[in-house]
Amino acid sequence: MAENRDDFIIAIRYALLKKGAKQKFSLFFLIILSISIVTLDKFSLPFMTPVRSVLNDIVYHVSVVSSQPVKLRKYLAHKIEKHYNLMGENEFLKEEMEYLRAQKFNNAYLKSENDMLKSALDFSVQTGFIQDFSVAAKVILDQKSPFLKSLLINKGTKNDIKKGMTVFSKDYLVGTVIETNYLTSRVLLLTDLNSKLPIVIEGTDVNAILDGTGSKLNLKLSYLPENYTIEANKIIFTSGKDGFLTPGIPVAKSYLNNKQKILIKLLSDPDQALIVNITNGQINK
């Protein structure tokens, strides 16, 4: 028994302290160093912020370079797929154009009628999205990790990006800025487990929280009223209860899947986001 314990201690001591001919550091030293780094990072000591920021900028840029071969493969696959779908797409676009042409006249009539009614009721005309801060940024990396669903963008504190700013892709909300460096920032996507957004459901006064689940096609609604079931094809808007985002920004939509189950999907597609718009969240101020 004692011999077995001695053997175990000898093997562990040998593994921890023996460096070997080609090893420059012992495992013991590196484990202590790692624990120190984790602790320093946890307590966010003043000197850790610039160190982490510089490290992030360097690593992100090298990471972008190393991801180029895979990006090229994806780009080529996408181009080939697009080429094969061209004929079908052309037919579809022709039909859509005809339909839109017919709708155009109808819309013009409705618009003039709407303006006339508004002026009769003395409603001021809303001007859509007004932002006092808006910066366009390029997505440099989209990481698929088991822990964070996030995007890395090429704008940082140099461009006045701050933590908590909201990020839009093609006019739809995709997430918020959670980490800023001098040249780069990290955007936490709405699909991430850590993302919680106060929302309101179209045509109702039902308030809830939209939780990320890791999938853009299956988000979760928490804190719904008892016995309430959402119907299909309902748009989900921000409720503005967080005091940051203004109410009425379309975020997600309910839909029926193949198994006739009602699910929630994002209106934006974070996987396809190439250029995003960063705002300070005060939309429709």
Partner: protein
């Protein structure tokens, strides 16, 4: 000619380190073919386990530590988490190397289970206590399972590769 041969040899012997850094810088799930992410596994862990077990001189612990730091930076976990996880794996692997006399692939494969368990345990403890991040437990479990499952394939590939470069 001699110089060229020396450079070639250096590149071949450094290839595991190059792979380790490459996968840390570009943290994508293998295989990332189309939309199939079901079989995603952790290549770095297989690489570290194999080389620390069979060829401890090929991957330095310093490189493993640095690759972990890079990985943390790229995926956004607290700095030092992956390093500590990789070093735990290395520690366990070194212990197995010192404690076993005869190496058989089946034993190495099954000792990979506790190695993965302790490594992931350290990861979970740090993430849960040192950050406010939520966890995709199912994805991590799936990832760990496939890392274990694919080990023999990479064991064969790495063994063949090492045999090839030792012949040269």
């Amino acid at each position: 000619m001699y110089y060229f041969k020396a450079v070639k040899e250096k590149i071949f012997t450094s290839l595991p380190i190059i792979f380790l850094y490459f996968f840390s810088f570009f943290h994508f799930q293998i295989p990332e073919v189309g939309k199939i992410n079901f079989f995603a596994f952790n290549f770095q862990m297989i690489l570290i386990y194999f080389y620390v077990l069979k060829f401890p001189g090929s991957l330095g612990f310093g490189n493993i530590f640095l690759a972990g730091i890079i990985n943390d930076t790229v995926i956004g976990t607290p700095l030092g988490t992956t390093s500590l996880s990789y070093l735990t794996l290395s520690l366990f692997t070194s212990y197995i190397r010192n404690a076993t006399l005869r190496s058989i692939i089946t034993i190495e494969w099954f000792t990979f289970i506790p190695a993965l368990f302790f490594s992931n345990l350290v990861y979970l403890i740090i993430i849960n206590n040192f950050s406010h991040m939520s966890f995709y437990y199912v994805e991590l479990l799936q990832n760990t399972f496939f890392t274990f499952l694919f080990f023999p394939i990479f064991h064969y590939i790495f063994s063949q590769y090492q045999r090839l470069i030792s012949k040269d």
